[in-house]
């Protein structure tokens, strides 16, 4: 799914880099670390951050859907909600990641094929080939490379959202249950309707209880981004492997196997990212639980630290 034409234009950083054979030492290193290929590597860090930022709202959306399905009074919907959340928990995420994007891609193209090319009578599955008409291709073959990459990226985002949405549903469902009954009964006693009770009391109160679980989920989401690599997206793992490998004189900057160094830089990047997130969530928790006479209000993080819901998921 990856490609060569990036939507950004690399530049030659230093004048003296024009002839890499003639330089050495620090200059060589400065030139090496600023090659257009390295710039793509640095750009891919942004891709990772974009994935996290883009997926988080989708996760919340699916989380709420899942939670409300589980709380539904209509039995089939309730079961569906339970099947969704427990299935994702019973199966390794990576299996979903390998499976969901392909399934979605084929489903989209199949639907478009049926709508856009009704005149084609040959089957879509021909032997090993999955053939849809040219107009049904998603994206079209003629689209520029960045469209293809964005499409692959969106598929990845949906796959992530499906998996983490199930975890979020668990957390939100649990948090909704955890809001003290007395508060809701009081709201009704004040004459609030079901809807008012939900929007004015139940939902705002829920956040305190959901936050530890959600912060945990965020961490897991951050740490699962290297799996983008398995989805064929040129993320930081792809570039670390590509750049770190032994380079012969076919390349302008030949060097031996440096993969350990590149992976070390990834390790540090993730440690920084989780460290910053941890601090941010600690601040947020203090804020949300201000004035709450609950377990969360007293000591939201410590009180729940013993039982973070998906502390184990790590990827």
């Amino acid at each position: 799914m990856g490609g060569t034409n990036r939507p950004f234009h690399p530049v030659l950083m230093f004048e003296f880099c024009a002839d890499p054979k003639a330089i050495d030492g620090l200059k060589w290193m400065a030139c090496y670390l600023t090659t257009p290929k390295h710039q793509q590597f640095y750009f891919s860090f942004l891709i990772v951050l974009a994935l996290i930022a883009g997926t988080a709202p989708l996760v919340m959306l699916l989380g709420f859907c899942g939670a409300f399905m589980r709380r539904s009074a209509i039995l089939p919907i309730k079961w569906l909600g339970h099947i969704y959340t427990s299935m994702v928990r019973g199966v390794p995420d990576i299996v979903f990641f390998l499976f969901v994007p392909i399934a979605m891609d084929q489903a989209f193209e199949y639907t478009r094929h049926r709508i856009l090319c009704p005149e084609v009578t040959e089957p879509v599955y021909r032997g090993n080939d999955f053939v849809v008409c040219t107009a049904a291709k998603l994206p079209l073959s003629s689209s520029p490379q960045w469209v293809h990459e964005t499409y692959g990226f969106i598929l990845a985002m949906i796959a992530f959202a499906v998996v983490f949405g199930a975890f979020a549903a668990n957390t939100i469902d649990g948090a909704l249950r955890a809001v003290p009954k007395a508060q809701l009964e009081t709201a009704r006693a004040y004459g609030m309707s079901e809807r008012q009770t939900f929007w004015r009391i139940h939902l705002p109160q829920m956040w305190t209880f959901a936050l530890p679980g959600l912060s945990n989920l965020w961490m897991v989401l951050v740490k699962s981004t290297p799996l983008l690599f398995l989805l064929g997206i040129e993320d930081i793992v792809y570039w670390a492997r590509e750049l770190g490998g032994t380079k012969t004189s076919f390349f302008e900057y030949p060097h031996p196997d440096w993969r350990a160094w590149y992976f070390l830089s990834l390790l540090i990047f993730y440690l920084l990212l989780t460290w910053v997130s941890e601090k941010a969530f600690a601040a947020l928790t203090r804020r949300v639980s201000r004035g709450m006479a609950t377990q969360g209000g007293k000591d939201a993080t410590a009180g729940n630290a013993a039982e973070p819901e998906i502390a184990g998921a790590r990827l």
Binding site: G90, V91, I94, V237, N304, A306, E309
Partner: protein, 279 residues
């Protein structure tokens, strides 16, 4: 449909017993189910040993982390942060890249009276190298859980122990540890489940497969590649994992009941396949 031929050929293929060649053409459903099933042996192996060994190391780490002395608490804290703060996937890559840099012949550690040679060759093999990573990783995650539980051990229990004149190790062994386990067990169950799931990453990261012996996902992706149809092998893996996860939960529940048997029914903690956040 009888899979006896496939079982004879590939039932233990993942550990090197059976046909040498993997099925190449005319791949049947039997082949897929059996071979992926034999790959599950690896997942179970990794999970079993990592969890068992990790359990003890995690307890040790949690106690260190809770120690008054910075000499103990800081290193434990850093260790936990290092392994919980970075993706397991990167840990696998990095560990493999580092293990292969070690000298092949082994490392000599002079102990004065004798020299111990540590064989490093095995470290680059998945069965040991990946197991070590998984072990350290689960230790860090479990230690965090145990540490949280350790801090929640009721003060009254500890004071009662003091009053009985218990101290040091006896107090830990008889009072702190059982309570810690009871409090941590539901979360620890989750941790074990996720560790089990994480074993599928081993052959997708740095560690190479030898003689085409790999775990369930390795074979599933082999089939997906050979048959061009991901819609069969991956769901097979999923079913295997759902079954194994249910068994795992049952085992942990039995132990949980044992931990809780002295409590009144309404006070017992139950392992729920649901958020454990709210208690």
């Amino acid at each position: 449909m009888s899979c006896s031929q496939a079982i004879a050929d590939y039932g233990l293929r993942a550990i090197g017993i059976g046909l040498r060649q993997l099925p190449k053409s005319d791949i049947t459903l039997c082949d897929q189910i059996v071979l992926i099933g034999s790959g599950m042996l690896w997942n179970i192996y990794f999970a079993f040993f990592a969890v068992i060994l990790g359990f003890f190391f995690a307890t040790f780490l949690a106690v260190c982390r809770a120690s008054q002395s910075k000499l103990f608490s800081k290193p434990a804290e850093w260790f936990i942060f290092l392994f919980r703060g970075s993706p397991l996937f990167i840990q696998f890559f990095f560990a493999y890249e580092t293990f292969v840099l070690l000298p092949r012949a082994g490392i000599d550690i002079p102990l004065g009276f004798m020299t111990v040679t540590i064989a490093t060759g095995w470290l680059t093999k998945a069965w040991l190298g990946a197991l070590i990573v998984l072990f350290l990783n689960t230790s860090a995650y479990s230690a965090e859980i145990f540490y949280g539980a350790l801090k929640s051990v009721p003060r009254g229990d500890l004071e009662a122990a003091d009053a009985y004149g218990m101290s040091g190790f006896i107090k830990f062994r008889r009072i702190v540890w059982p309570t810690l386990l009871r409090l941590a067990w539901p979360s620890y169950t989750n941790e074990a489940i996720f560790l089990f799931h994480a074993t599928t990453l081993v052959f997708f990261s740095g560690f190479p497969a030898w003689r085409q012996e790999g775990d369930s996902l390795y074979y599933a992706s082999y089939f997906a590649e050979k048959t061009f149809n991901p819609f069969i092998p991956y769901p097979i893996v999923a079913v295997y994992f759902i079954i194994s996860t249910v068994i795992l939960i049952l085992l942990f529940s039995i132990f949980n009941r044992k931990l809780n048997r002295h409590l009144a029914p309404e006070k017992q903690t139950r392992i729920r396949y649901r958020p454990q956040l709210m208690r």
